[in-house]
Symmetry: C2
Subunit: 177 residues, 2 copies
Amino acid sequence: MKFCSNCAAAVVKRVPPGDNLPRWVCDQCGEIHYQNPRMVVGTVPEHEGRILLCRRAIEPRYGYWTLPAGFMENDETTGQAALRETLEEAGARIELGAPFSMISVPYVNQVHIFYRARLLDLDFKPGEETLEVMLCEEARIPWKEIAFRTVAATLRHWFADRGRGAFAFHAEDILVR
Amino acid sequence: MKFCSNCAAAVVKRVPPGDNLPRWVCDQCGEIHYQNPRMVVGTVPEHEGRILLCRRAIEPRYGYWTLPAGFMENDETTGQAALRETLEEAGARIELGAPFSMISVPYVNQVHIFYRARLLDLDFKPGEETLEVMLCEEARIPWKEIAFRTVAATLRHWFADRGRGAFAFHAEDILVR
């Protein structure tokens, strides 16, 4: 059972007039409670060819390695979200570069966006949601312990692009859980 | 006054433990009701150098011209959202190209993403939220009657890129209302 956040009446899931998808509708106050995908925004922070990785101190994927990233908040831009998450999770100050990857993950209703970034100093340190932070060259990336497939895909694109000497923008989808 | 969608108790706005932003928190069931930006996804549909524009049949900006675009839904990818909105608003079948623009609009908590696209046929027709659809060359774009600044910015980038013979990916922000 779900309730209306405006008037506390019970809501029902049905297709509103003029729509073609079922929504949570409040018959008391008329509000339609839409649900939309969320954006996860992060960075690929680089220093002299090595990439900064964070080991997660939270579920899901506790103990696995990830790029600094997190849910975009209201009242910020994608770039501000990328800077904030990099500072929060890795204590890292960066110069933000271009958007690098955009990966839809529809089975969790998320879109992941990663920016290129350059570390401004080496004074990074784990934030509250991070166990440890390391700078990692390509040969030492712990591919079997990467937390999320969007992170692995982004890292693979980054090293491939570096190998051919040109960074592009990569858009793709991960459709199967 | 706002209510918990899980248990119908009144929620309060405060900073949860370990967080640094105020959230709607339910003290009865413990749920934290996060609010996040929404994605608006659309296309720049082209046919022989002309761009398909839609005149809006709904508020906001009733009667103004826009590119086909709308809120991304759960259970779809950004590309599927772009195809769906182009079909719903303009009745237009397209071949989807590369992502072309990504524009944060933090004062309305939105991120707008437009893809390049090529019309597959000329059998477009206005959908329920559209008054009319037209194919428009650069000299005839109704710049003063464009519904949203993200649409105007995307169109300007498109014609500038076409002018120099190379299409890039454009990321920017519109910070002031």
